[in-house]
Amino acid sequence: MWRNVWAVIRREYIQRVRTKSFVFGTIAVPLIMIMMIAIPVVIAERSEDGERRIVVVDRTGVLLERLESELVELGWTVEPEVWAADVEDRLRQRAEEGEILGFLMLDDETLGQGVATFQTTSRPTPVRGLTLRGAITRAAMEYRLEGSGGAESMLSGGELIVEMLSDTPGVNPDDDGPQFAVAYAGAMILYMVILIYSVAVMRATLEEKTSRIVEVIVASMKPWHLLLGKIIGVGAVSLTQISIWILAGTLAVAAGIPTLMSARPDLTGLVDLQAALPGFGMLTLFAGFFVAGFFMYSGIYAAVGAMCNTDEEANQAQLPVVMLLVGPIIMVMPVIQDPSATWATVASLFPLFSPILMWARIAGGGVPAWQIALSFVLMAFAIVAIAWVAGRIYRVGILMTGTLPSLPELWRWVRAA
């Protein structure tokens, strides 16, 4: 048995990896992703270029003079303010009224460890945040070096605490830039890749059926083995593509961040950015969710392909299945904002939603390990159940011509096979 399953896997893999669309997709998708991330950053960067007023409360009395020029360079108008007990409340009010963009508090801790607090209604873009933090750290370091104190404590790069003012609409006070991006982009990629490759299984099934080559193949092997080989083959192609993307991404980060750091030593926060990127554990989970999702959906799609006779029929018949994938995508944003809500937990444990929603919750942070384990167990059951039903529909469907079967008819196929 395994010899012919292997032959199908091999054929499927080699034929697909050779196509122009595979090569194109492998190269183009990362480029598109980079553009999708870069364009909003650039736009956000631009939009902040207008008149922006920030207030700086310098309790040290020595840092502002060293900082001011860089803050101006960042496009901010700087308004110094003397410290008083109620200064924070007053400034917060002014910020909430939209009079100022935010305020920066510099104190002895800033001087000692480079830690400063920036309260704002509008989160600075990563680059701007890093520049600001670099400027503050350098100013503090300069002062320390000019005086007697050593600057060792500053070598770690200091820290800029950004506090979002509460009533800012549309921004989650807890959200953390890079992590949010990982959760959201990861969910989108999972959706895309599962859909694209499951549809590929459907198309291949349909093509074999309409070209009648399937009659020759199933004369020589069990339909179930053909289906299995096809799914594994297409799955291997998709894993190859994803691996290339991840490898390219890792290389880009590994080579890019040090380069950027040496070019712009002031962007000390790049180290943190690097730390926030998904690590090996997350990548493994990502691959796990993909594989589980692909096995579930490709089985369903293969059954859809087997029961149709034309592309048009297949496009219609797959609509309900697409909805199963679009559903969780609609829920991704709310889930990221409140990953521990009961509804989010329940939805993310539903096997057909798990790949996207459980991923989003995990990447968003704070999902107990048992829930992750449970979602994989449930998905494993779902895969077996889908394989059982879809395999039977497939077996009857690929050799059947005529009108699209009705649901009761499908059920007969499942029971008859």
Binding site: N4, A7, S211, I213, V216, A219
Partner: protein
């Protein structure tokens, strides 16, 4: 002959599609090592029968055995099947496509590749191995498909209309290959409506008409039995005498006539009638019947609703219900 002597055996096989009965109570026994023709007009149930042998359709009644065993077991590696509707992987290279078909039937890849190259050479396509199947003409695709059918050296070849779509030269090439396989001991079951091919190739034929078996006989015996069924005449003078109760149909053939007699008719009676009618008879010959004529006689009679009459001694002979 023992049970195992049959490469294919169908017993009482019936297949219905809705109200239409495509194949009705069909028995078929294909002995090993012969070329067996499944003949019949379009829509008579040939392809349905073959699809049931291949397990693509399941019979509503009756059973199918291959080599005396459950066909699911033997079919996978022992049978080569060329379906009527040709299917290929259009994007694959010819050589890879054929090698793949060998591989799923248990031929190791290297061996499959070697055989594929040999076959491409033999069928005059050596330079096409690295081209995609879709780049080939239809006739060439059909050759590739045929290679795919025989690449694993099956013990039984089932070919559904293998000659249709091929030019005469390639029909001859294919015929020769079929004979080669027969010489090696392969059993060949093929369907066709081309009587010339069937006549040249088949050792035994089965004629299906309207879902039922009409004739199932050894080719030689069939011809013997049908001999005397056709009289070729040439004459001068009156021609009214050639029609009569013994004559089913008259066909004009280069200068003379072929008289198709009803079964068991006495041709001497016709001759006597001709002489007494004053015709000058130049030729009065019992001709070897062509399969074509037998085919038309049975399938045509059956199709027009006349009851065909069984011919004595022609092996197993069934007649469709009138």
């Amino acid at each position: 002959m023992t049970e195992n002597g049959y490469a294919v055996r169908l017993e009482g096989v019936t297949k219905r599609f809705g109200k239409h009965t495509a194949v009705s109570e069909f028995d078929l026994e294909v002995p090993r090592g012969i070329i067996y023709g499944l003949l019949g007009p379009n829509g008579s149930g040939k392809t349905t029968t073959i699809r049931m042998i291949m397990g693509i359709l399941l019979p509503d009644e009756g059973s199918v055995t291959l080599f005396g065993q459950d066909p699911d077991v033997t079919r996978r590696t022992k049978v080569g099947y060329l379906p009527e509707e040709r299917g290929v992987y259009r994007k694959m290279k010819c050589l890879e496509f054929v090698t793949f078909l060998a591989e799923i039937r248990g031929v190791p890849r290297a061996e499959g590749r070697r055989r594929a190259l040999e076959w491409l050479e033999r069928l005059g396509l050596p330079e096409w191995g690295d081209r995609r199947v879709e780049d080939l003409s239809k006739g060439m695709q059909q050759k590739i498909q045929f290679i795919g059918t025989v690449i694993h050296e099956p013990e039984l070849l089932i070919l559904d209309e293998p000659f249709s779509g091929l030019d005469p030269i390639n029909q001859d090439v294919l015929e020769e290959i079929v004979r080669d396989f027969r010489a090696k001991g392969t059993t060949i079951l093929f369907s066709t409506h081309l009587m010339d091919q069937a006549e040249r190739l088949c050792e035994r034929v089965c004629l299906i008409s309207k879902s039922r078996k009409v004739i199932d006989a050894d080719m030689k015996e069939l011809k013997e039995a049908e001999r005397g069924g056709i009289v070729a005449v040439e004459f001068e003078g009156p021609d009214g005498w050639i029609a009569g109760p013994e004559v089913e149909r008259v066909e004009a053939v280069n200068g003379g006539f072929h008289l198709m007699l009803t079964a068991g008719a006495d041709h001497q009676a016709i001759l006597r009638r001709g002489v007494s009618a004053g015709a000058m008879i130049l030729r009065f010959d019992l001709v070897e019947p062509r399969l074509h004529d037998i085919f038309v006689r049975y399938a045509g009679a059956d199709a027009s609703g006349d009851a065909g009459t069984p011919t004595a001694g022609a092996g197993r002979t069934n007649v469709g219900d009138a």
